[in-house]
Amino acid sequence: MTFSRRTALKGGAALGATLAMPSILRAQDKPSELIVRAWGGAWGDALKSGVADPFTEKTGIPVRLDFTEDNEIKPKIWAAVDQGRVPPIHVNWDTTTNATISALRGVTVDLSDLPNLEGLLPSAKPVGLEGWPLVNTYAYVYVCAYRPEAFPDGAPESWTVMLDPKFKGRVALYDDGIGFNPIAVIAGGGTFEDIPDNMEPGYEFYRKLKANEPLLGEDPDFTSWFQNSEIDLACTISVNARAAKQSGIDVAWTVPKEGCKVDTDGLWVPKGLPANEEQAAKDFVNFALSEEAQKAWCGALGLPPVRPGIEPPADLVGDPSYPTRPEDFEKLVSVPSPVLVENQPIWFAKFNEIFQG
C-alpha cells in the first residue's frame, strides 16, 4: 500500500522503472532487515506495535529495535560516517536536540522528498536547520509524576515540594537533568527570560535538592521505581508514569504552577547506508508520519502527534500531559532547539557537577 502510494507520488517514471526491473533484482533490492534505535519499555512497545509491525506487514522488511542508549549510538554513528563504514543502525529515534546536533555534524540524510511531510503541524519541522535533516514526530511533556498515596492532600502544586525532607531519597530526575533544567530556574526563583543566560537560580535549586538525595535515571528506571515504590515523586515524561499506571500502579501526574518543559522527539536516517537500505529507512520514516502510524504509535505513547486531526486516547482527553489547545501550551515551557543545542551540554555538565559532587 505505502509502497505504491510513495512511488505513485514520486512519479510514473520511478514506478515504471520499479516494475520493469526483473523480479529477482527487486527481491535483492529489499534489505534483509531494518534496525531502528529505540528507547525500551513502553516506548519500544509503542513503536513496535504502532510502526514497526505494520511496516513489516506492508513491505515484508523485518524491523529490529535496537535499545542502545541514544547517547551511546551518537558517537558510534559519527565515527562510522567519518570513517566510511556502514552505520550501525538505519533509523535513529532521537530527541530533537540530539538529532539537531547530529544534523549539525552533517551525518543525517535529507528527508525533504518524503511525501508524508505534507500536512504536518509546524512543530514537525526542525528549527534552525536547512531542509529536513530530521523530522519531529510528536511532542511530549516532562510532567510531575507522583504517587497519590504520598500526597493525601492532592496533587503537588509546586515543584518546590521536591525539597521537602519528607521525600528524602524518594525524588527522581533524569540523570542529566534533561526536562528539568529550565524548570529548575523558575522553581528556584528565576524567570523564563533568565534562560539561558542566567541559570544560577536553577543551580541553586539543585544544590538544595542534592541534600534530599534524589535518584537519577533513564526512562525505564522511572517506571520500575514507581512499580517497586522506590520513589514518590519524579520529573519524567508522562509516558513512563502512564506505563506504570497501566500496569496497575497508583501513579498520577500534574503540571505544577512553575510549568513543565515541553519538547519533541524525531526520526532521522544516517548517511553512509547502501542505497536500497537508505531508501527503506526513508520509507520507514515516511510510514511513521502516516495517519495510520501516528495514530497507533502516538496513541500507545499517549502523546500528541505532529499529524493533525488525531483524537487523543480516551484516558488523556483534557490531560495536561496531552496539550492540544493554545491555553494548554501556556502552562508549558518550551525552549527553542538552537538554545538547547548550544546550552544543553553546559547544563548537563553543571548538573553532573552538582549531583556527583
Partner: protein, 266 residues
C-alpha cells in the same frame, strides 16, 4: 591442621558469610526466573517455565548467545598459543629487561578497562574493522591475556627444569623436547587458562559495550541493555543460562585438571 576452637569458629564464620554473599544473588536469580508473574520478585509469584519459553522465542537473545560463543572461541583460540609461548619464554629463557617485560605484559590490567575499550573502539574504527565480530574476540583476548600467562606460568614453574635438560642430554633435539616434554607438562595450565579466557570473554561487558553494535551485540551487552530498558523475569531466565554455563565450566575444570590445581603454590 587443627581448625577447631575459636580459630575454627572465626574461619568458618567469615567464610560462611563470604559463601552466603557470593551465592545469594545466584540463588535469588534462579528462584526469580521461575515466577509466573510479570514482575521480578522474590519469593516468586507461583511457579512456571513461562519466562524460559518467552526467552526461547526471543531471537535477539539467541543470536546474542551464539555471538558470545563465537567471540569467546576466537579469544580462546588466540590466547592458547600466544599465552603459552609467552609464559614459557618468561619462565624458561633468560631475557634481559625482565622487569620491563612484566610491566608491559601487565598493561592489560593496569590500563583501565574503560580506557582500553574506548581506545580500541577508536583504533578499530580507524582501520575499518569496527562493526565486525572477530575484532571483539581479539580485544577480549588482549585485555584478559595476563590470566592465560599466569595459568601457564604456574604450570611451567611447577615443572622441574631438569626434565628438559634431561631430555636434551639424552639427545632429544629442541623441538622434540618441546613437544614431548615441555608441552605435556604445561597442559594443565593451558587447559585452566583456556577455560578462564573463554569464560571471562563470555562474561565481559564493558569493552564489548564499546566494540559491538546492534548487528554484533553479545550476550552481556544485551543483558545490560535490557536492564536499562525494562526489567522483566526473562532476564532472570537469561541469567540462569549464564549460571548453567558457569556450572558446566566449573565441572569441566574439575574433571580435566582438578580444581585443586588452584591450591598449588606457584
Amino acid at each position: 591442621m587443627k581448625l577447631s576452637g575459636s580459630k575454627g569458629v572465626f574461619l568458618w564464620g567469615v567464610t560462611g558469610f563470604c559463601v552466603l554473599m557470593l551465592s545469594l544473588p545466584t540463588v535469588i536469580v534462579v528462584g526469580a526466573s521461575f515466577t509466573s508473574g510479570d514482575i521480578i520478585a522474590f519469593p516468586p509469584q507461583g511457579f512456571s517455565l513461562r519466562w524460559y519459553s518467552e526467552l526461547w522465542q526471543l531471537a535477539s537473545f539467541k543470536a546474542a548467545f551464539w555471538r558470545s560463543l563465537y567471540v569467546s572461541l576466537i579469544c580462546t583460540v588466540i590466547a592458547i598459543p600466544v599465552g603459552t609461548l609467552a609464559a614459557i619464554a618468561l619462565s624458561r629463557y633468560r631475557l634481559r629487561a625482565r622487569t620491563a617485560l612484566q610491566v608491559i605484559l601487565l598493561l592489560p590490567f593496569t590500563i583501565p578497562l574503560v580506557v582500553s575499550g574506548l581506545s580500541m573502539m577508536m583504533m578499530f574504527g580507524e582501520v575499518r574493522i569496527l562493526g565486525q565480530l572477530w575484532p571483539v574476540g581479539l580485544a577480549l583476548c588482549v585485555i584478559n591475556l595476563p590470566f592465560m600467562i599466569w595459568s601457564v606460568a604456574a604450570s611451567v614453574n611447577a615443572m622441574d627444569p631438569e626434565l628438559e635438560n634431561a631430555a636434551a642430554s639424552c639427545g632429544a633435539p629442541p623441538v622434540q623436547a618441546f613437544f614431548t616434554v615441555t608441552l605435556p607438562a604445561v597442559t594443565p595450565g593451558v587447559i585452566t587458562g583456556a577455560l578462564l579466557m573463554f569464560i571471562l570473554a563470555f562474561n565481559e561487558f564493558l569493552v564489548s559495550l564499546f566494540l559491538t553494535d546492534s548487528r554484533t551485540v553479545t550476550l552481556p551487552v544485551e543483558i545490560y541493555n535490557s536492564i536499562r530498558s525494562v526489567i522483566t523475569p526473562d532476564l532472570a531466565a537469561v541469567s540462569v543460562v549464564y549460571i548453567v554455563i558457569a556450572l558446566v565450566a566449573v565441572a569441566l575444570l574439575d574433571w580435566l585438571v582438578g580444581l585443586d590445581i588452584f591450591l598449588k603454590s606457584k
